[in-house]
Assembly symmetry: C2
Homo-oligomer: 215 residues x 2
DNA sequence: GACGTATGCGATGTATACACTACGGCGATG
DNA sequence: CATCGCCGTAGTGTATACATCGCATACGTC
């Protein structure tokens, strides 16, 4: 396994809270886990550090970035600044084929049994990622993905609280609808509304003492 | 030298076009240059890769990220999305002491002879960075700094074309004025105007065939 | 008993050595 | 003469080994 692949595997593990925020990362353990020495593993950690997903303290190793509620709110503010403006260029570049791909992804999500929330969340993440990649603005996408990666563990932690899956599913459908209609303003508004709702629900969920993680 | 310090040193070298965009980075040479082995150097490169400042291709090593004019425009669009909204929180957190620090920085820039454009650009970069750090939004700052780092080599390449230094100096003074007045809207507008002007000038400068870099 | 100090272990940080890969040049071959 | 294939070299990728550091435990001292 190469450093880039290890980094991807670690991102996934962080997303799924297999490695929760605040967790210290033991290089020896992870290296054995991925069947490599510590050298490529450390390089993967440096990559994630550059993206802000882990923090490396000299002599102490790496820790998964932990977010306080205010930071989650800040990150949602960044999403509001970054994502809706992409609507115009998404509409400009989207092809029939792309819409179909996204639609099948939403279909897949719709038929997933409630048990497999991890699969659903993963598909939901990929949906957003692919949607934004359609804008063909790679730098914007890189920043957006960085932000999405940071909040993803918290989104999943509260996935069961964040509105019914049906409601989210409906939002994705509205996105597809906007894509099909070719109306940039509508897409802009749908994206913005989705983020606002997500922020609202997530921040209140994190505010509840019983839902807060221990430390 | 530690990997983080090496990364900082490399960022500076990239900013100053000592290592220009597109340049392949020889690990042996750089390691010797910084007096370390290739291990910590590679880790520094991975950090920069996570920030988007270099691109690592497996088996081929690292190359300083090269931007086409459209990409520079895209990055300025991101600056417009990210920086002006910080005005409110900058005003909320700024202290007398901070304004004085920024003012002395601007003073320093004002008295620099035209010869030392590298020092001037460096101070200009630090001015923006410190200004945004006042917002106390570390995630926003991280993204903004990433964007600034990417465009910095191009800003400096065309530094002599980008309006007279006097005009830029005046913009910095306007920023200070807005800070002192405590008017968030004014600061917002000053920041936005500065970015718009910068984009305009830089993009047209890059559009000129004779100013384009070779490859 | 409390505090400062020594000591051991677990873990990180990095230099060295070696395997492998990409690439350019050379010669053989048609 | 063009093309293909074969080294040779430069440079990347990583496992191993060792130095070092931080922290916890135990000890000694006051």
């Amino acid at each position: 396994m190469r450093p880039d692949e290890i980094a991807s595997a670690l991102r996934r593990a962080v997303h799924e809270r297999e490695i929760p925020p605040g967790q210290a990362l033991n290089q020896d353990v992870l290296a054995r886990q991925y069947g490599v020495s510590r050298i490529p593993l450390r390089e993967a950690l440096r990559t994630l550090a550059g993206e802000g997903l882990v923090i490396m303290k000299p002599g102490l190793g790496a820790v998964v970035t932990e977010l306080r509620p205010e930071e989650v709110e800040e990150l949602y503010g960044l999403r509001l600044s970054l994502e809706p403006p992409l609507a115009g260029d998404i509409i400009n570049h989207v092809r029939r084929r792309d819409i179909d791909d996204l639609a099948t992804l939403v279909e897949t999500m719709a038929v997933l049994p409630p048990r497999q929330s991890e699969e659903w969340s993963s598909a939901n993440y990929r949906f957003h990622r692919r949607l934004y990649e359609l804008s063909d603005h790679k730098h914007a996408v890189r920043l957006v993905v960085q932000v999405l990666n940071l909040v993803e563990p918290y989104v999943r932690m509260h996935a069961h609280v964040l509105g019914s899956r049906a409601r989210l599913q409906q939002r994705r459908a509205a996105t597809l609808e906007a894509l099909r209609s070719g109306d940039a303003t509508e897409l802009h508004d749908v994206i913005e509304a989705a983020i606002r709702n997500g922020r609202e629900e997530l921040v209140t969920a994190m505010g509840r003492p019983e839902a807060r993680q221990q430390h």
